[in-house]
């Protein structure tokens, strides 16, 4: 008998809010976390705006020891540890004070890179022929699984500890992987989530590809425009989102609060065949990922109340909407409500799926749709497919029973997950 799987803890470090309270009020009010970044401007980036969570030294000191913070320069680990520890605390789970690891508690916490600024420092040190002065902290901060290693040590986890990586699908995929491990009985609790480094050395590659907007350097909060006719490229962001994923039996036995149930999902790839390439999605694969997720979750498309889109604010947004209409076989006024978080946060890359899934779970738990910002001029190619009122531009109080979330990433990869309001 498969286990039912629920979400019992959340943590978030987002450009528009650190911690659940701040993030919840920011997304309800449509507050943007995107600002002008002087360092990007100094480095002559085309896109000089970004969504960057502002973590103070005081906040960092609540999560890391002074020794850990010596020569620490890994923004991804910083965000991931804050989000992960917050989620653990939110779930009411203890830190392990014994010598015996928590054998049934594990982690799947994704990352695309780790400590890219620390890595840069190390490269300079090595090239200056000063390797003997490198010290002991480079590996832990720059290995991709650094975030999982820091978190599992702080909590004392003893089940599988892994870092997944699948470009912008990473966050959604981590939640799906956690779901599968618990459903099949290999773990009872999994800390899931994903994080992304900040700064020019992570965002530069995208700027070089000219996929980020260069039109809003003087109007940062207007820059990220999912579903808008004037969407002109994504705004880079960073941060982390985290979830305590748990078997229903275990959650009930300890009287945990339950935010939502995970019903199922699917991850696939378009194989970079057909229209799919390294950077463009194969629409057939996207549609199949959504259909397979519904099938896996035993949910009818007609029962979907809300969609949390990937919707990055590029020309691909209309294609994504088209894919949803085909996969769900719903369009016009029959289409579910849909929203895009990236209007407020920018595209938080590897962390995007996690931050957006945190927003999705909060919507289910608190009965609302956060507003779509910066799409007052909706893309006509989108309104040709779905009614404008399905894209709420003001916060909408609405009961959401079933929500579907998808993320799509470079390499032609897709991940889709279905979340439901918990009913015993």
């Amino acid at each position: 008998m498969d286990n039912r799987v629920v979400i019992t803890g959340l943590g978030v470090v987002s450009p528009n809010g650190i911690g659940l309270d701040q993030f919840l009020s920011a997304i309800k009010e449509g507050i943007s976390g995107i600002k002008h970044q002087q360092n990007l401007s100094d480095l002559k980036f085309s896109c000089q705006i970004a969504g960057l969570p502002e973590v103070s030294d005081e906040l960092a000191a609540q999560y890391f020891s002074p020794l850990e913070l010596r020569n620490f320069n890994s923004s991804g680990i910083l965000y991931g540890v804050i989000a992960g520890m917050d989620a653990w605390k939110d779930a009411g789970l203890p830190l392990n004070e014994t010598h015996e690891p928590f054998w049934d508690y594990g982690m799947v916490f994704g990352a695309g890179t780790s400590g890219i600024d620390r890595f840069r420092e190390a490269i300079y040190t090595i090239d200056k022929l000063e390797i003997r002065r490198l010290g002991s902290t480079v590996v832990a901060q720059t290995m991709n699984s650094g975030v999982s290693a820091y978190l599992s040590g702080k909590i004392g986890l003893g089940n599988q500890i892994s870092t997944n990586s699948s470009a912008c699908c990473t966050g959604t995929e981590s939640l799906l992987t956690a779901f599968e491990r618990i459903k099949s009985g290999q773990a009872t609790v999994v800390l899931a989530g994903a994080t992304s480094d900040s700064g020019p050395y992570i965002w530069g590659g995208f700027d070089g590809m000219k996929v980020c907007t260069y039109k809003h350097n003087d109007s940062p909060t207007k820059g990220s425009r999912p579903m808008s006719a004037t969407a002109s490229g994504f705004v880079p962001g960073s941060g982390a989102g985290a979830f305590v994923v748990e078997s229903l039996t275990h959650a009930k036995a300890r009287g945990a609060k339950i935010y939502a149930e995970i019903l199922g999902g699917h991850a696939n790839s378009g194989g970079q065949r057909g229209a799919g390439t390294m950077t463009a999605p194969n629409a057939t694969a996207v549609q199949r990922c959504i259909s397979k997720a519904l099938e896996n979750a035993h949910v009818q498309a007609t029962n979907i109340d809300a969609i949390n889109g990937h919707l990055t604010a590029t020309a691909m947004d209309a294609l994504e909407i088209s894919n949803w209409t085909i996969a769900l076989n719903r369009k016009g006024s029959d289409f579910p409500y849909i929203n895009a978080l990236k209007g407020m946060t920018g595209h938080c890359l590897t962390a995007s799926g996690s931050i957006e899934c945190v927003a999705s779970v909060l919507q289910i738990h608190h009965d609302f749709m956060f507003p779509n910002v910066n799409c007052e001029d909706l893309n006509p190619a989108i309104t040709a497919l779905i009614d404008a009122e399905k894209i709420p531009q003001k916060m909408k109080s609405i009961k959401i029973n079933t929500l579907i979330k998808a993320s799509f990433g470079f390499g032609d990869v897709n991940a889709c997950i279905i979340l439901k309001k918990y009913t015993p």
Binding site: P66, L67, R70, R133, G135, S136, T137
Partner: protein, 84 residues
Amino acid sequence: MSNEEIIHKLKPIITTYAPASAALENLNEESDFIKDLNINSANLVDIILDVEEAFGITIDNTSMEKMLTVKASIEVIKEKLSEK
């Protein structure tokens, strides 16, 4: 430089890496970095880098390997200071 002076200079360096303990309070020549002071072995290399900086010396790999106790560290520091 006397042994006491060296220990006085070593203590703040070691304190950075050692968890608080009675052994750290009573740091002396016999203190073993790992067994008595519970220092993570990965941090021994950081201690050596800090010692190099504090004493203005360079410690070669062979000498580094010896520096597992305060006593051995004092010997290496004295030797390197005398070579300056």
